[in-house]
Amino acid sequence: MRALWGAMTPRGKALLAILVVALLLAPLAVNRYLLSVLTLILYFVYVGQAWNLMMGYAGQLSLGHALYVGLGGYVSAALWVHFGIGPWLGVFPAVAVGAAFGAAIGWLGFRFGIEGVYFALLTIAFAEFTRIGFDHISFTGGAGGLFIPYEEKRLGEWWNLRGGQPFFYYVAFLMAAAGVVIAALLSRARIGFQWLAVREDEIAARALGINTFRAKMKAVLVSSGMTAVGGVFYAFYNNSLFPAQVFDIGRSIELILAPIVGGLGTIFGPVIGAFILTPLGEILITAIDRIGINAPGVKAVFYGLLLMIIISVVPNGVWPWIVQRFALVKRQP
């Protein structure tokens, strides 16, 4: 942790400190709607970090991360609804199930040499058939959805993730902060370097003694497990889960945009990406609402356009450009 802090220039440290303080004080200053947007941003920071570890660092493209969100959400919500087991405990089986699916996909893909786009297709396939599966599992409400009842008397039970908007905001903040720290620590550890080697050139990585299968499995396990925690948050924040919604490929795409826009394989890329994209999307929807046009899918079109612009202007993402422009992180020796 100290090494992470030490790697930043005074200017970078100051900006980070200001950002953290501003986010901590935000509930005092902004209204409920803005707080919900901020909560959404921080949620995307967190899941973006999880996805970025797998793609940005280890170079394994997953287009099915909604699978882990959905599984984490469904496991924890079902345990709560049916057995009264709170998410503070339910998060563990949620992570286990998410990571187990991650392990299955990883094993199939890496063991049989399914790479790149084909691996991405495999991740989509798993998310899709899980969606169809959940449509038919009556235990979790099938296609009709699973609902977490809103109970006034439980509102203070933070360990059960019951609370108001400010409460969920702070939970999202903690998750985002933890996600950043986890990603930063892993990327600077031995495994982080092994991931980079795998991403850059797998044959060369093996020639340096790296068991690339194991390194990729670790990436997928960490990423899917982390994302499942995001799913627990998603379930208890929204209080409802529908297979067609949570497992939809749109959710998977939404989740990967922030790291792509912000900068793949960087710690602050997913952060800055989420802070750019989510508010723009919300502004767009509000604006469209005001004008009174009913245009479903307009957000997707907008994100698509934005992605094209950003990729053509700053192909490595916004964060690397900012770092260079404003000298926030010390140059490597």
């Binding site: 044959i203 060369a204 020639a207 340096l208 790296i210 068991n211 490597q332 020796p333």
Partner: protein, 242 residues
């Protein structure tokens, strides 16, 4: 002298084409051993079998008393065989130092320790000043040096060098010869190299193996091998005739 590597009668066929045909040789600890031969003689195939990228169809490879033929490349490296690639494969978007640090992390779990060892290795290969440069921005001679540095950082007992002199001008070749001799002398690294640059082979190798159409046609000290009529006919003479 204890035997480090022994290759016995290994063969490799690609759809009927015999790339390596019952080649045998052995290396003692501390040797510098060169494999020469015309293009397509099977030198790189031979290397790839030793390094674990290809499994031989026949024959055995023994390293430090352990059979390694058919072992995966990463396991072979962990046993102590480092290799470079003829067509260099740096990690392009990483810095030179990070490239070598990844190698050094094989036997060091602490990133700081690996980084400082990587710097020592970079200094040995005249790359210390380039350590912050992105690998893709290096010139070819420097990329060749980076290949050696990265392999060396894994603390190999045996270093396989696949044409690290190719494309270098004579002064650079001489410098590389000097570096390799230093590694052999000071760090006790045994070296097996594939090389076309005869100037380097003559200066470095204690023993030479000549491959032709996959078969070992001569083996011995370099001065003897270059006078062997079969070698002149198949390789050296052919080069002159070109």
């Amino acid at each position: 002298m204890t035997q480090l590597l022994s290759v016995v009668d290994i063969s490799k066929r690609f759809r009927g084409l015999v790339a390596v045909d019952k080649a045998s040789f052995a290396l003692d600890e501390g040797d510098i051993f060169a494999v020469i031969g015309p293009n397509g003689a099977g030198k790189t195939t031979l290397f790839n079998m030793i390094a674990g990228m290809l499994a031989p169809d026949e024959g055995t490879i023994t390293f430090c008393g352990q059979r390694i033929d058919g072992m995966p490349a990463d396991a072979v490296c962990r046993l102590g065989i480092g290799r470079t690639f003829q067509i260099v494969r740096p990690f392009p978007s990483l810095s030179v130092e990070d490239n070598v640090t990844i190698g050094a992390l094989l036997h060091r779990s602490d990133v700081g320790a690996a980084r400082s060892y990587a710097r020592d290795v970079l200094a040995k290969l005249d790359l210390f000043d380039k350590r912050a440069v992105t690998a893709s921005a290096l010139t070819l001679p420097n990329r060749k040096r980076l290949e050696v540095a990265r392999a060396l950082a894994t603390d190999p007992k045996l270093l396989l060098l696949d044409e690290v002199m190719a494309g270098l001008v004579p002064t650079e070749t001489d410098r590389m010869v000097e570096i390799l001799r230093g590694l052999n002398r000071d760090m006790g690294v045994t070296i097996l190299l594939i090389e076309h640059v005869m100037r380097a082979v003559m200066a470095l190798a204690g023993k030479v193996l000549v491959l032709h159409h996959g078969a070992a046609i001569a083996q011995g000290p370099p001065q003897e091998v270059v006078r062997d009529p079969r070698v002149i006919k198949s390789y050296l003479g052919a080069e002159v005739a070109l």
